[in-house]
Symmetry: C2
């Protein structure tokens, strides 16, 4: 058994820390349940850090203080695992879709990103694409808001320009959720549903390439929370697919 | 003009701080827009703290550092105002309802509480009741998540026991949102819709007094975020009232 890691300059410690902070090509899952769920789906960890000894011989032991210091936002329950970021492409998701694909257009709040991924799993969306400016779907807050469903949903980052081009080339009907238009439902089959950021709404670029779609509300209210709008539109499309 | 408040022992400073921290009979609104909106609805501030001089003669000037120190979660934009907590009762809300009343049963996350209040405004729910263990709807995070709609929705705190008793006495049909039951919609007229906490769901006590109501989802997903469930149920009931 190798010695317990206690130094912040240890290469494994630094690699986990970079994965958590830099949102690059490696991601960190936290806690025994998340990690076991990912491995059950065939994900293979690059490395595992534990603060207590365990039967798993390849794991790295780390002091509890060092594990805690990895991130204030992590709730490791004593174990973190490093994985390669899943490499699904926007093109593959849009090409294979037979249900709506959620396009998150600059949704910055990781809680909203994770909640929308949870909705995509609940209502069997074909996937979630995230443009520039979105929170990392594999960041700890988004993973927690996804309530274990992140692993069930194809997720990819892409540019607005590429998404618009792919929807045109692949003839994916595109809709942009906007406030205050005529209320109309999302079609049940293949589509792209663009959801904008809380403050800004859908970007000019994405709006130009999509038909507007609205949810009727009281005139007293300007708009809905982006995840609430996703819930209503996705649920209705899913319900129509069940018939 | 009285001197600028710079001491943490100033009685006004302490009264604002207590209102923010203690969730008692006084509440604090932050920023010029929230405060102007409340006053437009007839709310009268007990006192206003500002970090910059203004034309309003009764306001208290306070040093910017002291204003910032009032709470890390406040985004005052230079002005805070103290108001009496609105005193609507659970009984008045349930008695006068002609649309669903949302019953939040231990919903601890202030973001979810505020988002549900925003949904109650958007889909014209008759009000929101909060049991023991809920986040304060007039706390700063809940107010921000309500996106300015908190002032439009009757909100009251009450006990589970009192809510169950009132629904029985006033003959309000009661429904509890639970995971995994048969999917059925919320009736459009007067009702009580009980929404549980994220981890625990609806309490045994509230569940015993209500009919279960579920939202159909993929079998892969155990449950929905509480605000997403509220969005779907409230939107459908509102849509049926519009017909």
């Amino acid at each position: 058994m190798p010695p317990t890691i206690t130094s912040r300059s240890n290469p494994w410690f630094r690699r986990f820390r970079d994965a958590i902070e830099l949102h690059g090509e490696e991601i960190v899952l936290e806690g025994p349940k998340q990690i076991a769920d990912a491995m059950a789906l065939g994900w293979e960890p690059i490395a595992v850090l534990r603060s207590e000894p365990d039967a798993s011989p390849g794991d790295h032991l780390v002091s509890p203080a060092l594990l805690r210091s990895l991130s204030e936002t992590m709730h490791s329950q004593g174990v973190l695992a490093l994985f390669p970021r899943p490499q699904t492409s926007a093109e593959a998701i849009l090409r294979d879709a037979s249900a709506p694909v959620m396009i998150l257009d600059g949704v910055q709040d990781p809680g909203n990103v994770g909640t929308i991924i949870r909705l995509a799993a609940a209502f069997e969306a074909a996937g979630v694409l995230l443009t520039e400016g979105c929170a990392d779907p594999y960041g700890p807050k988004a993973i927690r808001a996804s309530a274990g469903t992140l692993l069930l949903v194809p997720v990819a980052r892409s540019s607005r320009e590429e998404i618009v081009r792919l929807c045109r080339e692949l003839e994916v009907p595109s809709f942009a959720a906007v406030a205050g238009g005529a209320a109309r439902p999302l079609p049940p089959g293949r589509s792209a549903l663009v959801l904008g950021s809380e403050g800004q709404g859908v970007s000019v670029e994405m709006r130009a390439a999509a038909q507007p779609i609205s949810i009727g509300t009281s005139a007293k209210v300007e708009s809905l929370n982006v995840a609430a709008a996703a819930a209503i539109l996705l649920h209705a499309a899913w319900n129509r697919r069940q018939r």
